[in-house]
């Protein structure tokens, strides 16, 4: 009989285990998987427990990048040291679920979470971070902001069968990082991450909760960059923030079944984008 529970001690053992049984599900915090197991929507044939893989909980920084292990919990990401490295991720962590979920839910689990991801992925997409996907063959770096956010579950685009997310590589930026989260009813949220810097003209904005993946507003970003004063990095006009908001909303086009709900989501995206810019640039 095949082993049904594997408790690897290292990353190598973990990816070997997943490679041997591609149907096995990796479990770190369990906060996304277990509600579906409890409701019998998922019936795992084998589990790979990651509790003993210490490497997944490591973090550090080198050459202008922060390396965050996929096993870091929300609570840990919100702590002062990691909040200093990646402020927007800490801001997102602070607004996740309940204390019990923040204590167990992990970065890697959230990247693969079901539904419309609204927590870590928009932040990673705005920061142009890469996700490390590891298999016995080696490590593949995937950039969430380059995936197609509108075409089905993001986890399927991100990860190949048998791969394990081991961590993320986040560029360390000197600029400003903003994260905005807004409830839009029926337990749904929209989120927006805005990153400006390190050089003038470098603006990035991603929206979560609107589609299966995080949506970058590339055109709106370019427009806003063009409105920045080359020297001071300030915006040319006080109305730029609101205009940027509208552009982001036009570009993101959040999905919802009813037209009224869609219109509201667009409106919320525009407001969140405007507020993020106002906070980042003042005014």
């Amino acid at each position: 009989m095949d082993a049904t529970i594997l408790m690897p001690l290292s990353l190598d053992e973990a990816v070997d285990a997943l490679a041997r049984d591609p149907r096995a599900l990796p479990v770190a915090g369990g906060t996304d998987l277990m509600p579906r197991v409890n409701a019998e929507l998922v019936r795992p044939s084998a589990l790979v427990g990651l509790a003993k893989v210490a490497d997944l909980r490591r973090w550090g920084y080198e050459d202008g990048f922060a390396m965050l292990g996929a096993g870091l919990t929300w609570a840990r990401l919100a702590d002062a040291d990691l909040a200093a490295l990646v402020p927007a991720l800490a801001a997102a962590a602070n607004e996740v679920g309940t204390a019990q979920v923040r204590a167990m839910g992990t970065l890697g689990g959230n990247i693969l979470a079901s539904g419309r991801p609204a927590d870590s992925l928009p932040v990673l997409a705005a920061l142009e971070a890469t996700v490390s996907c590891r298999s016995p063959g080696g490590v593949r770096e995937v950039a969430p902001h380059l995936l197609e956010p509108r075409s089905g579950p993001i986890a399927e685009q991100l990860l190949r069968p048998g791969e394990l997310i081991t961590g993320v590589r986040v560029p360390l930026l000197r600029g400003v990082q903003e994260f905005v989260k807004a409830p839009v009813g029926a337990g749904r949220y929209l989120t927006l991450a805005l990153v400006a810097g390190p050089v003038v003209g470098d603006v990035r904005c991603a929206v979560g909760g609107a589609h299966p993946g995080p949506v970058r507003a590339f055109e709106a970003e370019r427009w806003l960059a063009g409105r920045m004063d080359a020297r001071s990095g300030r915006l040319s006009d006080a109305r730029d923030a609101a205009d940027f908001g509208r552009l982001v909303a036009d570009e993101v086009r959040p999905e919802a079944e009813q037209r009224a709900a869609r219109a509201h989501l667009r409106h919320v995206v525009a407001v969140c984008a405007r507020r993020a810019v106002q906070r980042a640039f003042g005014g």
Binding site: N38, A39, E40, A182, P183, V184, G185, A186, G187, A260, A261, H264, H267, V268, V271, C272
Partner: protein
Amino acid sequence: MIGESTPRPDGDAKARGRFSYTGDLWAPGLLWCVLVRSPHRHARILGVDAGAAYAVPGVRGVVTAADLPAGACHGAIVADRPVLADGVVRFAGEAVAAVAAETLQAARAGAAAVLVSYQPLEPAVDPEHAFAGPPLHPDGNVLRHIALRHGRPVRVRRDGTPVEEVVVEGLYEVPAQYQANPATDAALALPSPDGGVELHVATPYPHADRDQVAECLGLPAGMVRLMPTGAGGSGGSREDVGLTTVVGLLALRTGRPVKAVLDRDESLRAGGHRHAARMKYTHRADRDGRLLAVEAQIILDGGAYAGVSPEVIGRLIGCAAGPYMVPYAAVDAWAVRTNNAPAGAMRGPGAVQVCFAHEAQMDKLADALGMDPVELRLRNALSTGTMLTTGQVLDGPVPVGAALRAVAEAAPPAAPPAPGTLRGTGYAVGLMPLLGIEGADESSTATVRLDGGVVTVTCAAVEVGQGFVTLVRQIVDEVLGVPDAIVLQAGTALPTAGAPGVGRHTWLTAGAVEQAAREIRERLLAPVAARYGMTARLLDVRDGRIRSYDGLIDLPVDVMYEDTATVTTAGACRAPSTEPLDDAGQGNAYPAVAFSACRVVVDLDPELGTIRVVDVTGAYDAGRVLDPAQARVRVESSVAMGVGLALTEDAESVWAPPGPWDVPQVRVAAWIEEPQPGAPFGAKGLGDAAIVPVPAALAAAVRNATGLELPRLPMRPRDVVVD
């Protein structure tokens, strides 16, 4: 003591995790039961094949409607709900079969293997279609209709000149609200050697449940023993009789103990929620702001089965015009059958829904008249000696004006509005008929036993978390000077005390306990008094001492007990008698009515449509506050439930009770303590009246901030965005 906060006798066990709820019970050889539920709202059952379920390892029994006596139906008022669907399913989530197995997983696997073939039928989802649509049940689609007609339209003034009318109209909607009891429904059944069954359930209605279960199982009532267990909360409805019956049936069939605990998703679909309501109102007033007429058509969605809908309509009809003097009322209220889950009774049943509508109407009227909304309400407020639109003269305290003035005069919240937000303030007043209505003729009994200074109280009332056990101890302390009475629940060994809620136990059970305790006091105090040439009435028992009126006698309370081995007394308390409402909705149908007023202040983010409740100030017609701490808790929970209904809780959001960020601590502007005649210590139940005006006041506050009409709850972010 009455009027002081008293710790709960069960608090310690609960805080230590040692208190047993139904789901915690276990018996040797226990089987788990899982129900097979219909995925269709409306369908014909073509066949049920349990063969594959029996093939699942661990499955010990499967039952369907065929295993029950023909027509085994239950219902609080009309027995119209099959224990297991028989030939047709009428809501998504209706139980069709049940499986008992050695483990929970085996039972779930067994339930998944039961093959039910359905022929889907057109579901009737919109309650307005109930009138014209085909009957969903042999009993028809109208569960109850009251056509209230009261008074006469006022068209001319005393001096003969025509009245100049100001008319406002509105269409309002309140959604179903899920009870969200912390513990889901559960039941444990043990087969008895006599061929009967012993049921452990956290029901608020042990007697009614026992009788219905016995009837559905085809057993004499004496062979069904029902033991109330610890209840994990009750917003009103708890423990579906069908579930209890099925578990009992499986225990009889397998000869083993059987337990079922609903999972949260099942509980959401199984019904028992607050009735969804659709309400059309027309209010007429003269130029001075005096109400001339209230006309309304109100439809409650009763769901697939009658449940308590007829009673909720009876309660609602007297509240529909609000706590105001109305010379002419024409209110039609219907509860109708649909293919939605059957509704139940939830705190403030009927009253909460109409309050949302009549208070919105009062604000519209104030606006049309250019009048202050509080002033308009005060001008029309009911008072003692005035009449409800049911024709009933209110002879008890009616502190509508006092409650409203108290909240209106309370200091506004100190903190200024958060930057970028709009602040709004709203007021609402509501009324709630207490106790069983329309000739329910309720009573409650209790026995009090004194044995060597130890007092044991036994009553049929059920504790579901509302804290009446504390109240019983307070009464014993007040009367006998013994603070730590043991409170036992008799289950079905004593006659029924009715279900908790609508202030029943605060009045009836408290009254029974008081009477029994007073009799002991009379008996024991008389000899003591006689020794000193006094009568018992001249002695006072307090703080462990017996003192005479003149202070000359001052004895330890123990002297009362020293010559007596054991005394047992019984007490009973009967509700004031009432009569059913007639065809025009007229009659003295309510034993008592309680009132409450509420002011809510919100800060609204006009762009995102997010609402922060900054302040809730309430005033409550308590009669007398028996336990200040307990009273506060009742009010806090009612406000949280009301805020949930107004902002987050609807069928779509499934389960979103407000958390610690969402509700401010309630500021009590006044406990209005005008004793209710006939009620023990003059006290009235608080929880039901307290919730009634909360959603209405919150909506008024948001309207005040936004100028939007907001005719329906919950107010979702997209409903309150101001561009």
